[in-house]
Amino acid sequence: MGKKVEEVPQLKQFREWFDKRHEYAKEWKRENGGKIVGYYCTYCPEEILYAAGVLPVRILGSHEPESITRPYLHDMYCPFCHDTLAQGLQGRYDYLDGVTLAQSCLHMRQSYFSFVDRVPNIQWSYYMHFPHGVNNPHATPYLRWELEKFKSAVEEWTGVTITNKELDKAIEIYNKNRQLMKKVFELRRGEKPPITGLHAMEMVVSSQVVDKKDHNEILESFLEDLKDVEVDRETGTRLILIGSEDDDRSFLELVEYGINYPATFVYEECCTGARYFWDEVRPNEDRLMALAERYVKRIPCPAKDWAAGELIRRRFQHIEKVIKDYNVQGAIIAQMKFCDPHELDIPSLRVLFDKNNVKHLTLELDITQPIGQFRTRVEAFLEALGEEDLFF
């Protein structure tokens, strides 16, 4: 019999990276003497930065109350945007040499520009006009062009010429990371998923803030170790998490560890989950075209997933497949307060879940969560899914 999941050292490593991401970045800089760029949205073509020897790290919130962003961001912009800007204003990202945003929603755009203006020591910033119309056929060649400009800008700033060889290497490392995380996710399809949503989140988020090389190393051994791990927790209700930035540990802990009834996330359809890594770059003589294709064809963010002639949402198609593959019984829709792109999908998403016989619960996330209120909702949700034996 193998060891218990909680004792697997790689999980501890993920958590440590998650907790000490700023320390890691500073350490990396000391060791490599390289530049670090913070990126705002998961549509950022990290491979290009990586190929130039730059470490891309994702800018995320910290889930602590703050009062410093409201002079710049409207109250009704999403908490994620407030939280990320707050990190910058508080100096937590003082090690960044540059910041970049691959055009995403308006809220994030505002947060990004305020970050660029108001966080000291930012030498370089790049706003990339990433297409929104990822469901139309012209997006890929157009994105290729934007990538080309991005690449030149990075080259100009770093003084490094990004060769095909370096790009290939970066793509390989990134693809590997994607493959490995996907393999970990696939283990969760089974009856007894070895890891929880909390573990998965820490794995994915840590990959966004450390050098993928380091992350791959740990991931490989992690996969090995997971093979003969002893799963002692009761899986309970199999849940899918739908959301955007879902890296608030207190929330995941509540659902998976803090309720009277067992429940486990088996899949996270969010940008701190599967949306980040699910799709790989497919080889192409034209490296930038290969990248463009990957970023256009990946599971879309709701901000980009809309009708261009046909009434389909690609993300929904993916979710439907996941429901079957992962035997999903319930869905928690974690709606970032005031996030329009996600909110606009919710009425139709509910229909989709109903159609597939998946019960769903919508919770509205803020910078910090009202755990007391959430507990009641989640508990009642799980009660409704089970507890048959109290009714006779």
Partner: protein, 445 residues
């Protein structure tokens, strides 16, 4: 100094046009015509090629009309909230959906008819995070109206290049066979070309009219401008609209020459920002009556309907000069490709309100320059909960202007959800602002 005031003569023409517009859309099918719906920002010249009997319904002005009629608006909003739409979503969009969901259609005079006229297709763009999804959801509410949204997220005008423009042109190109398929009609490039000329004419002329408001006394106040600029948002590629704007231009120009102002006494000139709270235009009246304060406009009224040069090539200064029409630019449009390219480029480059959508860097310069060029004393900003696009940058702009020594006041509200507006608070802000600037009430004088 007492100023002569006189009602605008072509006011009625504009009003009639608007009334006819909503009726035409309603009755299009009776006449065998085509109906389409989409954003006021959509490339509305394109559907013109389907024939002369093609009638649009643009969503934002429609939403604003709903909001103006309080009670109807409330019913729309409540109806759609019951279906699960979140309250913080775009105010126009919620009114629009609510109108569909209730199956009721509002005409410009406030009368309500049933059922809601279903469009043959939706043709829109994706400028904010909502537009394309707005019509996607509307299509679902309407049991699957074919919907096409054009992505225009290629960046501000001064950063445009051929490939960016091409990306948009290709999407427009694809839209034409798509429309042909849906409507079963053959596309007429001549009509498209006519529409494209008309669009630039209408938009550049509106910009010229706005410039006339630099005069002292100002010939127009913003509340009337709302009824004037709107034609460019409902049907700007209709050649009749351009004609009306020329007529208006002549009239306003002659007012300036004769020293006719919008207010009898102009004590204080200010700009506003964002779409106004449509249900509470009395804010403007209050400022006029109590403080003889005139709103000269906003980047909203100027920029949405107007074609402007905008940012200079280096991105360092905003230029409030009317954009050239094809004639002025010495361009001749002879075929579909040229027409699409022209309309794509004109909109991407010269629509003032598309530029600042990318960054407050642009919006700051745009607003500042406007205040300088029109000689305004201050700006009163509507912190508009109803539109996340227009509301983007407002606080950064506020901060910038205050540092530049320009007095700024802000009040919270919602352009299209009357429930988000607090009247007492808003008047309190205005009084505080005026008092802090030492502007006296005229009633106290």
């Amino acid at each position: 100094m007492e100023v002569k005031v006189r009602p605008l003569e072509c006011w009625n023409d504009f009003k009639k046009y608007r009334e006819r517009y909503y009726k035409n859309y309603l009755e299009a099918k009776d006449k065998g015509g085509i109906r389409w719906a989409g954003s006021a920002w959509a490339f509305d010249a394109i559907p013109h090629g389907l024939g002369e009997d093609v009638y649009p319904l643009t969503g934002e002005p429609y939403g604003a009309t709903c909001a103006f009629f309080h009670e109807f608006s409330r019913q729309c909003l409540e109806t759609i909230e019951r279906k699960g739409a979140a309250r913080d979503l775009c105010g126009y969009m919620r009114n629009y959906w609510g109108s569909i969901a209730q199956n009721k259609y509002l005409l410009a005079d406030g009368s309500i008819v049933e059922p809601f006229p279903r469009p043959d297709f939706n043709f829109t763009i994706h400028i904010c995070c909502s537009h394309a999804k707005w019509y996607h959801y509307a299509a679902e509410l309407e049991n699957g109206v074919p919907t096409y949204a054009v992505d225009i997220s290629v960046g501000p005008g001064y950063l445009l290049d051929d490939k960016k423009i091409n990306y948009v042109v290709k999407q427009l190109n694809d839209a034409i066979p798509w429309m042909e398929k849906i409507t079963g009609r053959e596309y007429d490039d001549e009509l498209l070309i006519k529409a494209v000329y008309a669009e630039a004419d209408a938009m550049s002329t509106w910009a010229k009219i706005c410039k006339l408001n630099q005069a002292r006394p100002a010939p127009l106040e913003e509340k009337s401008m709302f009824s004037l600029y709107v034609l460019n948002l409902i049907n700007r590629s209709d050649p009749e609209v351009a004609k009306l704007y020329h007529k208006l231009y002549d009239e306003v120009e002659s007012r300036v020459k004769r020293g006719i102002g919008a207010l009898t006494h102009e004590q204080f000139r200010f700009f506003t920002d964002n779409p106004p709270p449509w249900a509470f235009l009395k804010v403007y009246r209050y400022l006029e009556k109590e403080y003889a304060a005139i709103s000269l406009g906003a980047i909203y009224t100027f920029g949405l309907g107007g074609g402007w040069i905008g940012m200079d090539e280096k991105g360092e200064k905003w230029i409030w000069e009317p954009a050239p029409t094809p004639e002025e630019a010495g361009v001749e449009i002879t075929n579909r490709e040229e027409a699409l390219r022209w309309t794509a480029e004109y909109n991407l480059r010269y629509r003032a309100s598309w530029q600042h959508e990318y960054s407050h860097w642009i919006r700051k310069l745009e607003t500042y320059q406007m205040i300088k060029d029109w000689n305004a004393d201050a700006i009163i900003m509507h912190i508009n909960r109803g539109c996340e696009l227009w509301n983007m940058s407002t606080l950064e702009v506020r901060d910038y202007l205050v540092k530049k020594g320009i007095p700024v006041a802000t009040y919270e509200g919602n352009m299209a959800d009357p429930r988000d507006f607090d009247e007492a608070r808003t008047f309190n802000v205005i009084d505080s602002f005026m008092q802090s600037l030492g502007i006296e009430r005229i009633s106290e004088k």
